[in-house]
């Protein structure tokens, strides 16, 4: 007993404390370095990395800030768009253009940090992103304050239409909602249960879909909201099951939740046909769901031209991921504006509204007065671990 007490007292005055302090400090420094290390990536044309940054118009650098979830569960979408944008950048071979990418994790807070950094530290003249609607809505006003335009490849919330500096190369969900409602009706289903992710994108899509489906004399018998990346969805599905809908419509943008959803629908013995929003059109979802996705119908935006597909495969030796064609066009829109002589944020925004017009991977791109493009949808059906266009 005495010995132990003595031990404790000697420990108290042990001079080891300084060495422990040093170790702790080193660990903290490593941690900080690690966090900063993963957050920022630069990609620029290899030909002009060493160009001096002067202010004469001919050599003035244009910085494109790229924001997307590069980590977190929506990273698959962000990485896919980034690769496509880099392909467009390489192809256009623009002088004096740098693209700096920042991670948003598909979270409003992450996007605000990323955009503030890009605008005040890197002096970005235009932003490419975000991938998700919620973060896009959060940062559009910040970019607007700096007079900087945003071009998104995948944020589809109808609420983004009213943002004056917001452009997108993907049609708004007000169009997809109508298309999806008609699709369900055409297949002969009159009652529908909608399960949607509880954030800006999911809520807006749900509202449009519900309104459009009811306009076509359909009945939405149940609407359930789940947290974006939740993986225990049984409580909601049990509710849906009890309402006996003809079909289910699942809206999501987190592969984790969507895979869990497909599995649990099957496990709970729900045999209704499942319709999914476009984010379902990703191979990782089929792989994860291990057969539970069979028969899933996805309303999807255009996958892009064959020409784009071939170029992408040649460059990366893999199939283009979700929203790749839209990402390619988003960079091309910005690149075309810069090619036409726009260098400042205001000039780029002006060019996007007025002069930018080209044939992109998803068809002819020309932004209307709200910064929107039109677009067609296609239907994919999951069969034997692959999506087949219907």
């Amino acid at each position: 007993m005495k010995k132990q007490l003595k031990n404790q007292t000697t420990q108290k005055i042990n001079p080891q404390i300084t060495s422990q302090k040093i170790i702790l400090t080193i660990m903290l420094l490593l941690l900080t370095a690690f966090m900063f290390g993963c957050s920022s990536n630069e990609s620029s044309n290899p030909t002009n990395t060493n160009l001096p940054n002067t202010n004469s118009p001919a050599t003035q650098q244009v910085v494109i800030g790229f924001i997307a979830p590069l980590t977190g569960d929506a990273a698959a979408y962000g990485q896919s768009i980034l690769k496509a944008a880099q392909l467009a950048q390489k192809e256009m071979n623009l002088q004096n253009v740098r693209m700096i990418s920042e991670d948003t994790r598909c979270e409003a807070q992450g996007a605000v940090t990323a955009v503030n950094k890009l605008l005040s530290v890197d002096n970005a003249q235009v932003i490419l992103g975000d991938v998700c609607s919620g973060p896009s809505l959060a940062v559009a006003p910040i970019a607007q304050q700096h007079g900087v335009a945003m071009v998104s490849a995948s944020a589809t919330s109808p609420a983004l239409t009213k943002e004056p500096n917001f452009f997108r190369t993907i049609p708004s969900d007000s169009l997809q909602g109508a298309f999806a409602a008609s699709l369900v009706k055409e297949k002969g289903y009159n009652t529908l249960a909608i399960i949607y992710s509880n954030e800006d994108y999911g809520k807006a899509f749900h509202d449009v879909l519900k309104a459009e489906f009811e306009k076509q004399d359909g009945k939405v018998v149940d609407s359930e909201a789940y947290e974006r990346s939740e993986t225990d969805l049984r409580s909601y599905l049990t509710k849906v099951k009890a309402t006996h809908p003809d079909a289910l419509f699942v809206i999501g943008n987190s592969p984790d939740a969507m895979v869990a959803m497909l599995k649990q629908i099957k496990e709970l013995g729900m045999t209704q046909p499942i319709f999914g929003s476009e984010a379902f059109k990703a191979q990782e979802i089929l792989d994860g769901a291990q057969g539970a996705a069979d028969g899933l119908m996805v309303s999807s935006v255009s996958l892009g031209s064959q020409e784009f597909h071939d170029k992408y495969v040649l460059e990366y030796n893999s199939e283009p991921g979700p929203f790749a064609a839209q990402g390619y066009d988003a960079f091309k829109a910005i690149g075309t504006a810069i090619q036409s002589g726009a260098h400042t944020a205001a000039q780029i925004q002006d060019a996007l509204y007025n002069t930018v017009k080209f044939d992109g991977a998803t068809g002819s791109i020309k932004f209307d007065a709200q910064g929107e493009v039109g677009g067609n949808y296609v239907v994919f059906v999951a069969k034997n671990n692959a999506f087949v266009q219907e």
Binding site: M1, Q4, Q11, N14, I17, Q20, L24, L31, F34, M35, C38, T71, G72, D73, A74, A75, A76, N198, E224, A225, Y226, E227, S229, E230, T231, D232, R234, S235, Y236, T238, K239, K241, A242, T243, P255, D256, V259, A260, K263, K266, E267, L268, G269, E284, I285, D287, G288, A289, Q290, G291, A292
Partner: protein, 294 residues
């Protein structure tokens, strides 16, 4: 709409079993160490990814993969204690410092996993996904039955271990009164380390069950920790049976509550329950007054 009571209870039992395994390990570590070890959630995630590496990537036999995973979880827990918590405790750091250290560890481990494994969906794929079997009106898959039974068996064994064995008694003695236990000849630091090893092993088992039942996501530790923590508080954080009961209660409240309330309030239900207990019965259901040390 008929009220599917059997299905709701089955759902509650499944998720409650997972919360309970997390909560019991957490509660053991909390009671012996007296600080909130939030990085416990990271141990669960690390276990899930360890199973993914050993079973799905390296194709080791399933039982061997599980044993390695549980061993690794214990090692992670022990290392966290030795490298971070013990030095801080020696310097008489306040519980706030320990809490911040544990949040730091949670973030660090989750991000390391993200760095090594990436963010895409990972599934173990031990069993084929198929429709469950109907038991008294509830549809439940064989895997889920195994999950619930494993969890209940383990929790019982752990309860008996704490009640009947010498080591269990010693752990409870340290939890009761550290100085007194020390005067009676026990070595509190050693027992605290043991509580980390046992608690993290339980977290490892929870990780295995979650990996089999759901899919893996590097950031799921935080969510699980919140639920497990709530379960432990509701049941009584110093009491093993309390934490178990509390976790099942949280699971039931979530599932039955979601039936009556609009969905989207699921987490709100958990937190309302937590607040009610913190306000009205801070000791939890099985709580006993153990504030003697302070």
């Amino acid at each position: 709409m008929s009220f599917p009571i059997a299905q709701l209870l089955a759902n509650s039992l499944i998720i409650g079993s997972i919360y309970a395994l997390v909560a019991v390990g957490f509660s053991l570590i909390y009671s012996t160490n007296r600080f909130v070890h939030l990085a416990h959630g990271a141990t669960v995630v690390a276990a899930g990814y360890a199973l993914y590496s050993t079973f799905t990537l390296l194709h080791l036999p399933f039982i061997l993969a599980c044993i390695l995973t549980i061993a690794l979880s214990s090692v992670i827990g022990f290392l966290m204690f030795k490298a971070i918590y013990e030095p801080l405790q020696k310097r008489k750091s306040s519980t706030v410092i320990m809490l911040i250290a544990s949040i730091g560890l949670l973030t660090l481990i989750e991000n390391l996993i993200l760095l090594f494994f990436g963010a895409d969906v990972k599934t173990i794929g031990l069993l084929e996904v198929r429709q469950g079997i109907n038991i008294a009106g509830a549809i439940i898959t064989p895997l889920q039955i195994v999950l619930v039974l494993t969890s209940l068996t383990l929790l019982t064994v752990f309860y008996l271990f704490m009640k009947k064995t010498t080591l269990g008694r010693n752990l409870r003695a340290v939890a009761d009164h550290k100085e007194l236990a020390s005067i009676m000849g026990l070595n509190p630091t050693r027992l605290m380390a043991i509580s980390f090893i046992i608690g993290s092993a339980l977290a490892g088992i929870a990780g295995i069950l979650i990996a089999l039942e759901q899919n893996l996501d590097p950031s799921m530790g935080t969510d699980l920790m919140i639920k497990g923590f709530s379960g432990a508080i509701v049941g009584g954080i110093y009491s093993v049976p309390g934490s178990i009961l509390g976790s099942y209660l949280v699971g039931t409240a979530e599932n039955v509550g979601t039936w009556f309330l609009p969905s989207g309030y699921k987490n709100a239900i958990t937190f309302t329950l937590l607040f009610l207990f913190l306000l009205l019965r801070p000791k939890g259901i099985f709580g006993v007054d153990k504030g003697v040390r302070e």
